[in-house]
């Protein structure tokens, strides 16, 4: 039991490190692109360039992908979660588990919920 707790703690620390500002900005670019939110995209692109992402990496994020393996599946999960697409969420969760980073899902979910526009004011 104690061993399991240690493992969970270790995975929690690991996933915390894996979710980086560079990953998050690519997720934001992907979601802003699906929304067609030009103003947000312009600002996000400036920030992404400051983080040393290349124009090709920014374009990939806007297409809902990443050259980085973990960020790529994180974006897929985030887009599915943003769209409340249950089938895609399940598929992305399976992929995260296959890559050994299943614990990313709840943290990404929390991040995506923060990006959702309020339905009423």
């Amino acid at each position: 039991m104690r061993r399991l707790a240690c493992l969970l703690l270790a995975e929690s620390a690991l996933t915390k490190d894996l979710i980086t500002p560079v990953m998050l900005i690519q997720i934001e670019l992907a979601i802003a692109s699906t929304r067609g939110d030009r103003d947000s995209l312009d600002l996000l692109e400036i920030d992404a360039k400051r983080m040393a992402l290349t124009a090709a990496e920014i374009d990939a994020a806007k297409r809902g992908a990443s050259f980085d393996a973990i960020t790529n599946i994180a974006i897929k999960f985030a887009l599915a979660d943003y769209a409340d697409d249950a089938a895609e969420i399940t598929a992305a969760k399976k992929k995260l588990a296959a890559f050994g980073v299943a614990a990313l899902a709840p943290r990404l979910h929390a991040f995506v919920q923060g990006l959702k526009l309020p339905t009423s004011i």
Partner: protein, 306 residues
């Protein structure tokens, strides 16, 4: 008037001959290099000495040496002749038409993937220029090998050449999605110990893979497959056999298609700059100037470097 100009032209020629004799320490060798007979060389240098009114060279049966006045005059002639050549080249470069052979060097993959398409497009625009691409994975001596333009990746040494930065690239570790599904994804550099590694043994590769980020770690990898080209290592990785480390531009098409993905991106080393370099400074010829303008614009527009 024409006679005066001709006389001045002869003086430049006499200075060139004198400099060549001083450099080769031989009338015969200077004559060979300048396509003149030894007596003609001797006559020109003697005329020069007569005009100046002092002895410039000491002749013995075995060698030719500069006198004290000759040594000073030799330095002055070199400066004047260089200035004259530079002025001619500047005028030709600024107003001339690109002609002649343009030699461009780059590494094999960068040259093939990015420089060659630029060269062919450039040659279509300037039909009087002939191109020569020297794409090799070794450090090319720009002056010795007669290079007009070089594309260099990495930090430049202080060469005195003119360099224009066109972008940057990173060293990346990559594998195929199928490999990651089977073997998982390394999340820290030390994880590489439990992965299959393909290493390229071409130039500039090391089995000690260095990482940037907070830790600045270095991991010595134990590859199970060595390939003598980057292309082969990339092909093995794309087949899902293992992970390899390359420069990001080398897998640009595979990254775009999703055939390969990178890992450990948070541990990337500092990016390497890409420069277009040429040795002629502001005195570059028309062909060099026009090619650099063309190539810099094209390379800077590449989304993988910017």
């Amino acid at each position: 008037m024409y006679g005066m100009i001709a006389a001045r032209m002869d003086r430049w020629q006499a200075m060139r001959v004198f400099v060549k004799v001083a450099e080769t320490e031989s009338f015969a060798a200077a004559g060979r290099q300048m396509h003149m007979s030894p007596p003609a060389v001797t006559r020109i240098v003697s005329s020069l000495e007569a005009v100046i009114g002092t002895r410039l060279l000491t002749r013995t049966t075995r060698s030719v040496k500069l006198t004290e006045a000759g040594a000073r005059y030799f330095g002055d002639c070199q400066r004047l002749l260089t200035g004259l050549e530079e002025a001619d080249a500047a005028a030709a470069g600024a107003y001339g038409k690109p002609t002649g052979t343009l030699t461009v060097t780059a590494s094999v993959m960068f040259g093939t993937m990015f420089v060659l398409p630029i060269m062919t497009e450039y040659l279509d625009l300037y039909p009087e220029v002939t191109g020569r691409g020297l794409f090799v994975d070794r450090v090319v001596n720009i002056v010795d090998e007669g290079i007009d333009v070089a594309v260099r990746i990495g930090h430049l040494s202080d060469s005195g050449f003119t360099a224009t930065r066109v972008g940057q690239i990173k060293r990346v570790i990559c594998g195929s999605p199928a490999y990651f599904e089977k073997h998982g994804i390394p999340t820290v550099p030390n994880d590489l110990a439990r992965h299959q590694i393909v290493a390229s043994t071409s130039a500039w590769t090391s089995l000690e893979w260095r990482f940037g980020g907070a830790g600045k770690a270095a991991v010595r990898v134990n590859p199970r497959l060595f390939c003598n080209t980057n292309e082969a290592a990339i092909a093995a990785a794309a087949r899902g056999w293992g992970l390899t480390r390359v420069l990001s531009y080398q897998i640009a098409p595979q990254l775009e298609s999703g055939e390969l993905q990178t890992v450990l991106s948070d541990y990337d080393e500092e990016a390497l700059p890409i420069h277009v370099v040429h040795p002629d400074g502001r005195y570059a010829s028309a062909k060099v100037r026009s090619f650099i303008d063309f190539a810099v614009g094209k390379l800077r527009a590449n989304p993988h470097f910017s």
